[in-house]
Amino acid sequence: MIKDVPLSPLAAERAAFRRSRARRSTAVAFVSTLVFAVALWWAVTSAPGWPRVQATFFDPARAWESLPAVLEGLWLNIRVLVVAELGVLVVGLVVAVLRTLRGPVFFPVRALATAYVDLFRGIPVLIALYLIGYGVPALRLQGVPNDVVVLGTCALILTYSAYVAEVFRAGIESVHPSQRAAARSLGLSHGQALRLVILPQAVRNVLPPLLNDFVALQKDVGLISVLGAVDAIRAAQIEQARSFNFTPYVVAALLFVLLSVPTGRIADAVAARGNRRRSGR
C-alpha cells in the first residue's frame, strides 16, 4: 500500500475482500492440521500394542535417568562434528579444484581425484567406518593413531568430502566462463583467477546445498558408535542394555533433531538471501 495516497473505494473494497479470503484460508489450514493431528494420535494410541510401546520407548522416568549419559555422549558427537566439518570443507575444496585442472600434465591428479570421488560416494558410510576404523589399526603402522574416535572422524571426512567436492565443482562450473576471461585479460594467473574471482562466486552459489550436506553429516556423526566410541548413540545403547528399555534411544534421537534444526534454519535463511540477491532487491 502506498502511503499518503488515499485508497479509492474500489481498492478499499478489494483489499477487504483479500483480507477476508486470507482469514478464511488461515482458518481452513488450522482446522485441517488439528483434524490430522488428532486422527494420527488416535490411530497410534488406539493400536493394540500402544501401552507396550509407550512403556518401552516413551518412559519419562527412564528418559530423565539416561539424559546425563546421553548428553555426555552428544558432547563427543559435537566435537567430532566440528572437526569433521572443517576437514570436509578443506578436503572437498581441494579435490574439487584438482578435478577442474585442465591440461594433460594434470591427468594423473585429475584421474586420482575422480577415482576418489567415485569410490567414496559409492561406499556405504558404515562399511567405510569399518574399513578405516578396524582395517587401519590392523596394519600396525608406526605413528598412525588407533583411537576409534580419530579413525571414525577420518572415515566421515573421507566419505563426506567426496560429496562436498562435487558440490564445490558444480559451483565452480556454475561461474560463467566470461568471468575467467575477464580475469585472464587483466593478467591474473590461473591460480589468482581461481582464488580471487571464481571460488568466491562458486562458494556463494552452492552455500544452500553445502549446508544441506552438513545437516546430513550432523546425524551421521552418530555412526562412529559402531566402532565403540561412547557417543550419544553408544551411551543410549549402554543405558538400554542396563534397563531393557529403549527410551534412551528416543532421547538421543530428540537431541540429534535439536542439533540439526538450527543448521536447517540457517540453510533456509541463506537460500532466501540468495534468492533476494538474484531478484535484485
Partner: protein, 259 residues
Amino acid sequence: MTPVLQVEGLVKQYGGRPVLRGIDLAVAEHEVVALIGASGSGKSTLLRCIDLLEEIDDGRILLDGVDVSDPRAATRRRRNRPGGAVAAQKSMAIVFQAFNLFPHMTALENVALAPRVVHGLAAGAADERALELLSRVGLADLADAHPDRLSGGQQQRVAIARALAVQPRLLLLDEITSALDPELVGEVLAIVRDVARSGATILMATHEMGFAKQVADRVCFLDGGVLLEEGPPEQVLGEPREERTRQFLARIIAAGRLG
C-alpha cells in the same frame, strides 16, 4: 616506428568452421581503429584472439614487434618475461560487450584488483588509482556499490575504468555499447572519446557508425572473416569501394544507426 599491434595472416576456426580467414592488420601508437561488420563477421573473435583469450590456428600476433602468439611465449618459463603471453596480457586490456564485472566485488575492488595482484601496487595506492579512474568515468560516488546495484551504462563505465587501471599499451573494446539501452550509450561513448583524445591506442569493434566516424583514425570493414576494406572513416563510411561494404552500410542506414 614499430606498430603497437601487428596481426599477420591470422586464421581462427571453430570446429573446422573458419571464422577468421587470414587477417592482416596493424595499429600504430595513439591510433584509434574501428572494426565494423555484420554480426558473425569475426570482429569479437579477432579481439579475443589478439587478447590471447583464444588460441589461433595460423598467423602471428605481434605486440610492439614481439610475437606473443608463439606457443613458446606461453610456457611457464617465458610467459611472465617481456614478450611472454602473460606479460602481453598485462599490457593489453579488453572491455567486453557484457561488462563481465566481478559481481562479488565493489566497483572500487573491481578496478583495484589487477593493479594490486598483477602489477604489485600496495593496497592503498591501488585504491587511490582506482578512485581516480572512477572519478574520471564519473562514478566516484558509487565506488562502494556492487555491480548489481549499477545500471548497464554505469557497469560499462566501471569496466572501462578497470581496463584503464592496468595502463594498457593497447585498449580493446568489444562492442561495448551493444548491450546497453539506447539512452545509456551516450555516457559510455563520451568516456571512450575522452580516452581516445588522451592518446590511447584503441582497437574497437562497434556498430556505432557515427561514433566511429568521429573518433576513429581508420575504419576496417570485416566480412566473412576477411578484412575487405580499410581506410579513413570518411572514405570507408562515405564512399566505400567494395560492394559488400555498401550493402552493409545501406542496412545500417535503414536501421537508423548512421548518426
